[in-house]
């Protein structure tokens, strides 16, 4: 019984939150990785593009709410996401046309493009803050919990409760659907294959008649879709605040690099690596060991490896370790 309690404890405080946080990071990391692989620069606007998409999701949610449309137990935001995606796609395509395409034509070094993406980062941030303001916003509606701690306790008779928020399940389901479609697209369709070819060797790809404009356009479209979905899921699960989204750029980059930048599948797993390590290292294991160990050995300290203040620092330290020992990432991205 104690063992079961211990397992439920870990599930409740580590596994479930890390899984949903990891999915949100993974969606971001995939598009950062994709842009890095195909457009060949570090896209510093990542976090702010997510907040841009989320902002429009929120605006559409408000609009639908004002019309009285809702999805019952599901959050209305799910209805807003497709519309927000369309706007985000047009935004990325417009910025590409106005800003990035010029440097691609001139074959500027990647550093230059990264710098330019800092310019778009400032602009995107300004747009988001001017339109919706810098404040914390919650836009979740519908049924909040799928499984409440009390219900779980009654069901199983255990001491520990297991809470599953509906946003966590939605996050997981949406991530699975989106990511499987994406990998199907990249691996099975002709366009996806041409994108991978372009990422592996640009010159060869151009020689074999791949249209670079199309590849670039599709990359931006995928980036906008993933950014909006990832951002909206994060916002549903926690809350929307432009500053937090900007900060999320950092773990997203960490995930993309840990997974091997330029390798979308690696980035996907990298998101989970970062999320799990952040939560595993900063969790206080005292209660867990109270359940597992015999009474005489009960620990008296918190048994926390690092205080939760260092949550971000953990993921960055992992990044540093990975950079030191496997610069191409755990799952072999581009060799740099």
């Amino acid at each position: 019984m104690d063992i079961l309690n211990a397992i439920v404890l870990l599930l409740n405080y580590i596994f479930v939150p890390a899984l949903s946080y990891g999915s949100q990071l993974a969606l971001g990391a995939i598009f950062v990785s994709l842009i890095y692989g195909i457009l060949r620069f570090a896209y510093f606007t990542a976090g702010d593009l997510m907040s841009f998409g989320t902002m429009f999701t929120i605006l559409f949610t408000w609009y639908f709410q004002s019309l009285g449309i809702n999805l019952g137990i599901l959050p209305t935001a799910l209805l807003g996401i497709p519309f927000a995606i369309i706007i985000t796609i047009s935004y990325t395509l417009v910025t590409d046309k106005l800003v990035f395409s010029y440097y691609r034509r001139k074959k500027s070094p990647p550093v230059m493009l990264a710098m330019v993406s800092i310019g778009t980062m400032f602009v995107t941030q300004a747009i988001v803050r001017i339109i919706i303001g810098p404040f914390d916003r919650r836009f979740f509606d519908g049924e909040k919990f799928i499984l409440k701690a009390n219900e779980f306790k009654e069901m199983t008779g255990l001491n520990e409760g297991l809470t599953i928020k509906s946003t966590q399940v939605i996050t997981l389901l949406v991530t699975i659907i989106v990511v499987s479609i994406l990998f199907w697209f990249l691996n099975k369709t002709k366009t996806g294959k041409s994108m991978r070819a372009y990422s592996d060797n640009e010159d060869l790809a151009l020689l074999s008649g791949i249209d670079p404009k199309k590849v670039v356009m599709i990359t931006w479209i995928i980036a906008a879709i993933l950014a909006t979905i990832g951002g909206a899921l994060y916002g549903l699960d926690k809350s929307f605040k432009p500053f937090t989204y900007f900060n999320n750029m950092l773990p997203i980059f960490a995930a993309a690099i840990v997974g091997g930048i330029g390798n979308p599948f690696g980035a996907f797993l990298g998101g989970y690596v970062i999320a799990f390590s952040e939560i595993l290292v900063t969790y206080a294991y005292r209660k867990f060991f109270i359940y597992v160990l015999p009474e005489s050995l009960e620990p008296d300290s918190l048994l926390q490896l690092l205080s939760t203040d260092y949550k971000f620092a953990v993921s960055f330290s992992i990044l540093v370790v990975v950079l030191l020992f496997r610069p191409s990432g755990i799952f072999k991205g581009k060799v740099l």
């Binding site: 550093v111 300004a126 971000f312 540093v320």
Partner: protein, 456 residues
């Protein structure tokens, strides 16, 4: 002289703008803008050395700035004796332990190059070391933080004049840069950018949460100043006379004695803030000028030429027998040390250290906008970039207000759009920075004052 005309012209415009602020807003505002312009100029010079001379991207500027600020605290705050008594010994032991760990790991790496068990031994050393560290420092930290938590709760500093911290800050930042450089300098350019950005976040996290060292988010306030305090100045005879002399014309117009005294008092209060800021401007100008002279000399020395060679073609420079890795590390450390000076200067000016206020937007990306806008590789350009961008950053709000009023003048006062726009004025500065950066990168990629290379 003629070839430097654009430099002189640009600086005259910049100074003119600041004087305009002084005339139309107030001299106090103009001088504080000027102070931060000078601090920004020091930061940009640091970043410019790395980017302009050597082509290294350092997105960790925030981390070095914060370390410089920490240096200001550690140098100027008087030591908290009680805290040292309860936990000082253990903290010193912990430092020795960390040093031991580092040296033993280095020793293992050097001594057993080929052994496969190396990894496990190193891991064991780290784990045992961390557990020991926890055991030694844990209780000490707790007891240190329990000493008077409302006012101290940390070890305090050395109680020296705060000006020393400008040098100490440089050493702190340089030491950190050495470690980061050792880890990350082998990476490709944009990787280095991300790595330094993330490492600077780690530095901030440590400063924010290690309360025994820096008081963390409880902030350290009331740092000593290298210049007189306003309140002391207002009581000084010579200062009052000075103010009276400066304002002779205005004062002589007033005939009533008590009114005259009232006026003089008002003028003295205003004058004292201006005087204090002028002192700061003087100090900062000395730093900027000294750094400018040194960096200019370095740029045109054989060493500077070598750096440019390395930047423009690493392989060729390597083939000529230049040690690229070592030079990169050197310039990384030097540039970061300069940023550290700026960090200490900023905390000195503010008189308080607030770890919570260090954010990458303000301290890393804005500095990079300055470098790019000013002109990478050109020290005068970097300084000008610091001035121009900071000026715009501060004056963006009035400019935005003016523009909004101008473009929405057709709308009514109560129009929702107009009110919303006026409410979000503070965020227009981001828009201006972004658009400015994009325009400069597109149409003048070398910056306002491009790099000039003298042919010898």
């Amino acid at each position: 002289m003629r070839q430097n005309l654009d430099v002189i012209f640009a600086y005259v415009i910049m100074l003119g703008l600041i004087i305009l602020v002084g005339v139309f807003q107030s001299w106090s505002i103009a001088l504080s803008i000027l102070c931060f312009c000078l601090i920004s100029a020091v930061m940009t010079m640091g970043a410019n050395i790395q980017w302009g001379y050597a082509g290294l991207i350092n997105f960790g500027i925030m981390g070095y700035t914060a370390l410089g600020g920490l240096a200001a605290v550690l140098v100027s705050v008087p030591p908290v004796r009680e805290a040292w008594q309860v936990g000082g010994l253990n903290m010193i032991l912990s430092v020795i332990l960390i040093a031991l760990m580092v040296f033993s790991i280095r020793f293992i790496i050097k001594k057993y190059k080929k052994s496969n068990n190396k990894k496990y031994v190193i891991a064991a050393v780290i784990i045992v070391g961390l557990i020991l560290l926890r055991l030694i420092s844990g209780p000490a930290i707790e007891s240190i933080e329990a000493v008077n938590p409302a006012t101290t709760g940390f070890l305090g500093g050395m109680g020296l004049p705060i000006l020393f911290s400008w040098i100490v800050g440089a050493f702190f930042a340089g030491a950190l840069a050495y470690v980061i450089g050792k880890i990350a300098l082998g990476l490709r350019a944009d990787y280095l950018a991300i790595a330094t950005l993330l490492i600077s976040e780690i530095v901030i996290a440590v400063i924010k949460h290690e309360d025994w060292l820096s008081r963390g988010v409880k902030n350290v306030i009331g740092l000593k100043r290298p210049v007189p305090y306003e309140i002391d100045l207002q009581a000084k005879e010579w200062f009052i006379n000075l103010v009276a002399k400066f304002n002779q014309n205005t004062l002589s117009l007033i005939t009533d004695v008590s009114e005259k005294e009232q006026m003089l008092k008002q003028l003295v209060i205003e004058g004292s803030t201006v005087f204090v800021k002028l002192c700061f401007v003087g100090l900062f100008t000395i730093v900027v000028v000294v750094l400018l002279i040194i960096t200019q000399k370095a740029l045109y020395s054989p060493w500077g030429r070598m750096m440019r060679a390395i930047r423009d073609n690493e392989e060729a420079a390597n083939a000529m027998g230049k040690n690229v890795v070592q030079q990169h590390l050197l310039i990384f450390v030097l540039g970061s040390a300069i940023v550290g000076i700026a960090g200490a200067m900023m905390v000195t000016y503010d008189g308080l250290f607030t770890p919570g206020s260090y954010r990458p937007m303000r301290y890393t990306f804005l500095i990079w906008v300055m470098v790019i806008v000013g002109g990478s590789g050109n020290n005068f350009g970097a300084v000008l970039g610091g001035f121009a961008v900071w000026f715009l950053w501060i004056e963006a709000a009035p400019i935005a207000l003016f523009l909004i009023n101008f473009f929405t003048s057709g709308l009514e006062e109560t129009n929702a759009l107009r009110i919303h726009l006026i409410d979000s004025i503070p965020y227009f500065r981001f828009l201006m920075m972004g658009v400015g950066l994009l325009l400069i990168m597109r149409y003048r990629p070398k910056g306002i004052l491009p790099e000039k290379i003298k042919n010898i």
